[in-house]
Symmetry: C2
Amino acid sequence: MVPGVREKQREETRRRLYEAALEVFRRDGVQTCRIDDIARIAEVSRAAFYFHFPTKDAVLLQLAHEGEEQLLKALEALPADHTLLQLLETVAGAQGTFWKDKRELVADAYGAVLRAIATVSDAEYFQSRNRFAGQLKRLQDKGLAIRDFAPEVMAESVLSSVMIIIIGWVRTPEAPLEQHLKKAAQVFLRSLKPD
Amino acid sequence: MVPGVREKQREETRRRLYEAALEVFRRDGVQTCRIDDIARIAEVSRAAFYFHFPTKDAVLLQLAHEGEEQLLKALEALPADHTLLQLLETVAGAQGTFWKDKRELVADAYGAVLRAIATVSDAEYFQSRNRFAGQLKRLQDKGLAIRDFAPEVMAESVLSSVMIIIIGWVRTPEAPLEQHLKKAAQVFLRSLKPD
DNA sequence: ATTATCTATAGATCTATAGATAATGC
DNA sequence: ATTATCTATAGATCTATAGATAATGC
């Protein structure tokens, strides 16, 4: 089904608002920035912003969601018989690559994710987490990962550690993030592989 | 030095605002609640709230800070020759005990902590993290913990995983949190102890 | 004719600040 | 006399909603 004129227009407006929002978030900070500035840059009324995004959090969640889509792609590109280490390095690497040039937004975006996790039940929204958890589960079933935790909890713990490493790295930007994350993956491996 | 009348009054007002804020946060949600309601319950003007707390985040940071103080006490009560497992169980247990009856606030409070980590350099604000990191460092020096990461990063990673477990648990309140966190401590042990 | 998308705007709420009051220091 | 704490309030910004416009479906 080909998208009509109206749908195309709506998506174009939404995209303009999204990009303007990220620009203003970075420039003025998420909490202190004015939505008026976002609307002005996107060349629509302020109310149009609310039509597309109920809150600033919704913009941050879309950003996090795009990061997750990158992660999903990377997970799908793994060979069927991947090892636990390969899986962990893929997760850490994909998140690192995505957030590397978005440091000003990492903490706010992940904060929004935590609030979303606590309140909404968005099973389908965070597909990549489920995918990651699914792959952990398969490794558990093969006896290649410990069974102490539900795979969802393990996935979320690994992801939270990855995010906190990136957020901490924001303050020491000269350090090599990729190397850091690769080492982290090895540490996760120690905790998650069976004896 | 005995506190004067003015100081006593200020601290009492601040405490009333703090408690009113937590009450309203829980009732209406941090993002959607009105500061007017907080001020009304605390029986001061709305501007008095801003005098004591520049933002809602400041209230959440004080809450997180109180959690950290509980953690600090628990860490100080450990024997000098504690094991890595004892240390990890203490951290997980203390955070679990503190947040157990504050589930509605965990995600917002930890989100505020992440933003604070990314922006301010509050070395002295989060004393307990430093204390935890110091104890990890001593274990590293004794050869009882791996040396792959700076102790601050290890401390933050463990704490972030603990927090994410608590935040995830918010959605399945019937599960036993303490048991969950104890198992988590054992998993951390696997990753942080030397071979 | 109906509906989705967006604008204009009224009313709610926030933030910044000038000023009041009472405690403190000299 | 000076200063810390708090109030009153003006102006800024947000949020909710009535209405305009143009695309869509019949």
